[in-house]
């Protein structure tokens, strides 16, 4: 198929960006979206132009690097996939596709479609861990049974890949889904309960500091999340936060 691409180009953080239009042809249905971008970049390089910069790495939907806003939606029109798992069969010959970086104050653009998501790392550093040393002198793994249901819910929360789609989907650019996923993972496990209060207070404080917006329960994040992280996590984080605040 032949496509028209309108892509955000920006040389670096200090210059102004703009949309630029490109044409690509002979795109096959079996290509992934990023393979289509590879075709464009090869085309640009052969003409002596600079290729479009975008983050990507594993190309199997798990590293969380890729993060394109495609036709106004984080990771594009398909559900439950990252940009790298989106396939061109979701588009039609002659389509115009608009490709932008994830937009949020807390995610400044570095170049073209590459944004700085280090705010997510700092939220995790504020408390997204259990304070045990990695010495191996811990008790046997089976000494504390964990209810399967809780272990499974903890796991589902932990499958967050930190891509930032929740922030990009939110009209407030809120990072509540991301933060609550980590808070929930640990809150649901006996190992994480011990420092649950400190964790939720510190992580929320850092989240606010980074300039993310508030949650107004529109639920857009849950719909756009490639890993299906549930809105219930936000509710759980709010409970945890309240519990910790009134102690």
């Amino acid at each position: 198929m032949n496509l028209t691409l309108k892509i955000w180009r920006q040389k670096n953080a200090d210059t102004k960006g703009k949309m630029v239009t490109y044409q690509v042809s002979d795109i096959s249905n079996d290509m992934s979206f990023l393979e289509m971008m590879d075709v464009l970049n090869e085309q640009l390089i052969s003409k002596g132009d600079e290729p479009v910069a975008f983050d990507h790495d594993c190309r199997e939907g798990i590293c969380g690097s890729c993060n394109l806003q495609i036709n106004g939606e984080p990771h594009g029109p398909d559900r439950g996939v990252t940009t790298c798992q989106l396939h061109m069969r979701k588009f039609n010959d002659g389509d115009t596709i608009i490709i932008e970086p994830f937009r949020a104050k807390a995610f400044p653009v570095i170049k073209d479609l590459v944004v700085d998501r280090s705010a997510f790392d700092r939220i995790q550093q504020a408390g997204g861990y259990i304070s045990v040393n990695t010495s191996g002198n811990t008790q046997d793994a089976n000494s504390i049974p964990v209810e399967k249901e809780n272990a499974d819910m903890s796991f589902y929360a932990a499958t967050c890949i930190g891509c930032g789609a929740c922030v990009a989907a939110c009209k407030n650019a809120s990072a509540m889904l991301f933060t609550s996923a980590k808070v929930s993972q640990f809150a649901l496990l006996p190992q994480g309960e011990v420092e649950a209060d400190r964790r939720v207070l510190q992580m929320v404080e850092q989240m606010d500091k980074e300039g993310f917006g508030n949650c107004t329960n529109t639920g857009a994040c849950e719909i756009e999340c490639p890993k299906g992280i549930s809105l219930e996590n936000i509710a759980r984080m709010n409970r945890e936060y309240l519990k910790a605040s009134i102690k």
Binding site: E60, H87, Y129, E147, A158
Partner: protein
């Protein structure tokens, strides 16, 4: 030059590690504060090592090319992590894990290292659970296990199909705790482009800030390389796009021996190549072989009809299918080790029984598992006389709970529903057993330079068993390196900060800068990917699943010519002082173009078949690998002397004192 001794402690196998830990020197806590350690790579090995070293009190700097340590490719590991816990009571033990690993590696790994790996495996699980890794559990609240290829017990712990992700996020959280304390300084979007040696010792690195393009000097008392494997030398592999050999190759060129480069794992269950546009291959976890049965049509006509789209796999009856692994290897069936399963798939496809358009695919079929689970579930739920449709429905639910994310991934890529029609799979490059040579302490032949995880060669011999990569990465990082590095650093307590304004740093930085400038100033006509793809084709066709002397000699010549063309014809747009993805790729491909040659040279010199290294000249009448223990029971460690063609071979003989070396059989 550093020492080329295994430094394995003397004494009985089971006591070596404990004794060694008691014998080696320690650094006292106050002195640790004065010692800096650089860790390159933040996957399971690098991330866990950085966290543990920082906990111990060292000042750690981590480097990764990704925008966050959490994105290292360990995250993509799916199936599980082995540990000799024997929770299932099925006869597992440290010795059995050790034995399986040595045998799985076709008797080409070091006994002492492998035993230690098995010994600490149980600790890893304890540690990860304490850290909040949400492993799969049973209804009783205890940890669940599954089985993986090449073994007869269930010792694999897992978190659905995202075990690597959960373990990496565990290590990442341990790192975050130390970053928060200021004990780890993370340098993300940074790439190590050379090591700096002072008085023969590793004393720092030159790194490029990938956002600004600036070259930076970082000094330390020791440098740990944890940058993963080099599977991307094949262009198409299950590795991440950015996975590269650069850090390992740079230290190799500065004196670290490179061991067994030809030992590469071709994983049997990956989604087949669909066309020339393909940028990477996607793995379907080996855990699927617990429940999936692998087959091709018995009759060639059926295979041809399927390829032409005239027949569907579901139309073939049981007796029209050839479950070739179950047929050839009745004892292990679909759970033979990876190298065996891959070769068997290639054999069937080469013989004309392949099933997709290209003829390079076999089926992985879940229909019998779905019915089996469905019946069990119907019994549990007290459903009397369930219809086939009901059984199927219940069975699908069970299969979905086990492998849901993998099935979804398959459907998104291939556009077929694997619950209804069998998956198509084919082998793909996945893991490299070879790597930087290290001694028992995980030190390379450069004093003060260590290599851990997939980057080193140490534990998997000629073939790695499934679910053992995660085990090795975490064992090295959490439990081995933090001890052994102390022995070396104990001599550095009075050294003080290493200055970065020395002649050695000047020279290293100049060398790096000139090379980068050469890449952008060549201004040729062909893109980096153009060269990478050609290299990949040479590697896959002539240095891939089956190799022979003629092909290997051709490959060496072709790679040499390609390398020369690369340096004359490559086109890298943009400049060195900005974010420049093409420049990053160019540097990595330049290194692959050197490594590829050494890889082929190693494969040519090893005149035997073992594990993942299959030389067509050396096989049994039944087509199984024919090992030559008389002449090749050694680790081939190559010393760089100016170009890959001139690399000098050093041999580390392998002694098996505790295991009887046998012909490896899974029949």
């Amino acid at each position: 030059m550093g020492n080329f001794e295994s430094n394995a402690p003397k004494g009985p196998l089971a006591e070596k590690w404990t004794k060694h830990k008691n014998d080696i020197n320690l650094v006292n806590p106050a002195n640790k504060r004065n010692i800096d350690v650089i860790v390159v790579g933040t996957g399971l090995a690098g991330g866990s090592a950085a966290a543990t070293l920082a906990e111990l009190g060292y000042n750690v700097k981590t480097f990764c090319y990704q925008d966050s340590p959490r994105r290292a490719h360990s995250i993509a590991a799916q199936g599980g992590i082995n540990a000799a816990k024997n929770y299932q009571g099925d006869g597992d033990s440290v010795y059995r894990l050790f034995y399986d690993t040595i045998k799985g590696g076709d008797y080409r790994s070091r006994e002492s290292n492998v035993y230690r790996l098995a010994e600490v495996s149980g600790n890893i699980i304890d540690q990860c659970v304490a850290q909040g890794v949400p492993f799969a559990r049973e209804y009783g609240g205890l940890l669940d296990n599954r089985s993986f290829g090449g073994v007869l017990v269930s010792r694999t712990f897992y978190a659905k199909g995202q075990t690597g992700q959960q373990l990496l996020l565990g290590a990442y959280s341990a790192m975050n705790r130390q970053i928060n304390r200021g004990k780890i300084q993370p340098f993300n979007r940074h790439e190590m482009l050379d090591i700096v040696k002072v008085d023969g010792k590793a004393r720092g690195i030159i790194a490029r800030n990938l956002v600004t393009g600036e070259l930076e000097r970082h000094s330390a008392h020791a440098v740990v390389i944890a940058s993963g494997g080099y599977g991307n030398v094949f262009f198409l592999s299950t590795n991440a796009m950015g996975s590269n050999v650069t850090a390992s190759w740079k230290i190799h060129k500065k004196g670290a021996y490179f061991a067994n480069p030809c030992f590469t794992q071709i994983h049997p269950t990956c989604i087949p190549v669909s066309g020339d546009h393909q940028s990477k291959l996607t793995l379907m976890s080996e855990s699927l072989r617990n429940d999936g049965r692998i087959w091709v049509p018995k009759k060639k006509e059926d295979a041809e009809a399927i390829r032409a789209g005239k027949k569907k796999p579901t139309e073939l009856s049981e007796d029209e299918r050839d479950y070739y692994l179950e047929r050839r290897y009745p004892a292990f069936g679909n759970l033979v080790p990876r190298d065996v399963a891959s070769r068997a798939a290639k054999e069937r496809c080469d013989a004309g029984f392949g099933v997709n358009k290209t003829g390079e695919a076999v089926y992985l079929d879940f229909s019998s598992a779905i019915m089996r689970y469905g019946k069990e579930e119907a019994t549990t739920r007290k459903i009397n006389n369930p219809s086939d449709a009901k059984i199927k429905e219940l069975g699908k639910e069970v299969v979905e709970a086990k492998y849901g994310n993998l099935f979804q991934m398959y459907e998104k890529i291939v556009d077929q529903n694997p619950y209804e029609t069998p998956m198509m799979i084919y082998p793909a490059v996945h893991y490299t057993m070879g790597g930087v040579w290290v001694d028992y302490n995980l030190q390379t032949t450069i004093p003060g330079c260590y290599a851990i995880g997939e980057a080193n060669f140490s534990d998997h011999g000629a073939n790695r068993l499934g679910a053992s990569a995660l085990m090795q990465g975490l064992a090295d990082g959490y439990f081995v390196l933090p001890y052994t590095i102390g022995d070396y650093l104990s001599n550095d307590i009075r050294t003080g900060k290493i200055p970065t304004d020395s002649a050695e740093f000047d020279a290293a930085e100049t060398e790096v800068r000139e090379r980068l400038e050469k890449l952008v100033n060549t201004k040729g006509t062909k893109s980096v990917d153009h060269f990478h793809k050609i290299l990949g084709k040479i590697m896959w066709n002539k240095v891939g699943m089956a190799r022979n002397a003629t092909g290997l000699k051709e490959a060496i010549k072709e790679i040499q010519e390609l390398r020369e063309e690369f340096w004359n014809e490559v086109r890298v747009p943009g400049s060195t002082n900005e974010m420049n993805a093409e420049l990053e790729k160019a540097g990595r491909v330049a290194d692959f173009l050197e490594l590829g040659e050494l890889f082929a040279k190693d494969a040519l010199h090893r005149e035997e078949s073992c594990g993942g290294h299959f030389r067509e000249e050396y096989q049994t009448e039944e087509g199984e690998a024919l090992r030559d223990d008389e002449n090749f029971m050694y680790v081939a460690a190559w010393e760089y002397t100016g170009k890959p063609a001139d690399a000098i071979l050093h041999k580390e003989d392998l002694d098996y004192e505790n295991i009887q070396v046998k012909t490896r059989s899974y029949k």
